[in-house]
């Protein structure tokens, strides 16, 4: 858990969506966001906490946190470019 949660500009609730749905929803969200925006993705897909951070690194954005919550994961990312 983060000690201070950054301001989240948008939360994408992809819970209930199956692989690779949450990542696809995040990519759409990133496209629509401004550089510097922080997005949160909620996902109940077990692959997301591995796949999404890898995609964030490859795509050149900034991973802020991966949090395991009740029945889902929350991944925070800052659009960096």
């Amino acid at each position: 858990m983060l000690e201070t949660t950054p301001t989240i500009n948008r939360t994408i609730d992809a819970r209930g969506s199956f692989c690779p749905g949450p990542l696809m929803e995040l990519i759409r969200g990133i496209r629509e966001a401004q550089v510097g925006d922080v997005l949160a993705v909620l996902s109940s897909d077990k692959g997301s906490k591995v796949d999404i951070p890898k995609w964030i690194e490859k795509a050149g954005h900034r991973l802020i946190a991966v949090e395991t919550l009740e029945g889902h994961d929350r991944i925070l990312v800052e659009k960096a470019r």
């Binding site: 209930g16 199956f18 690779p20 696809m24 990519i27 759409r28 796949d51 795509a59």
Partner: protein
């Protein structure tokens, strides 16, 4: 530019098409171009008026497998056609019908779902594949 990943879709059952659609979407998410080449029963599943139908499962699914697939569908899993639409929205996904299979099934391009970008022969498929991997599903 990355070499494309090239999937030859032969099987027309929903499980294999779903697996292919997920592989396509993952590659598209990474910015990898994907070429899909539709042959035989996979092409048949892309008919405009059949794409949303039940296309059955591979024989190894059995009754238990059907139950698992059905449970995921009821839980809201996107269909393979919908996953492919999203993948096309995300990246460079080109879907081509094999011209021989078009003849085999007696199809015209207008018989196919708009997901299909065109009809080509096997030579064009290999030329577009370049040095990229070719996977047969």
């Amino acid at each position: 530019m990355d070499e494309p990943i090239n999937l030859v879709l032969f099987s027309g059952t929903d499980d294999k098409l779903q697996a292919a659609a997920v592989l396509t979407a993952g590659a598209a998410a990474l910015g990898k171009p994907v070429n899909l080449f539709l042959q035989y029963w996979a092409l048949d599943a892309f008919r405009r008026e059949r794409i949303d139908r039940d296309h059955g499962l591979a024989p190894e699914a059995g009754a238990e497998g059907r139950g698992h697939v059905e449970a995921l569908r009821i839980a809201g899993q996107a269909s393979w056609a919908e996953t492919l639409r999203q993948a096309k929205d995300l990246g460079a996904v080109d879907i081509q019908a094999c011209s021989l299979s078009m003849d085999l099934l007696g199809l015209e391009e207008s018989d196919l779902d708009p997901l299909v970008d065109g009809v080509e022969g096997v030579t064009a498929f290999y030329l577009n594949a370049g040095e990229g991997q070719v996977v047969f599903i």
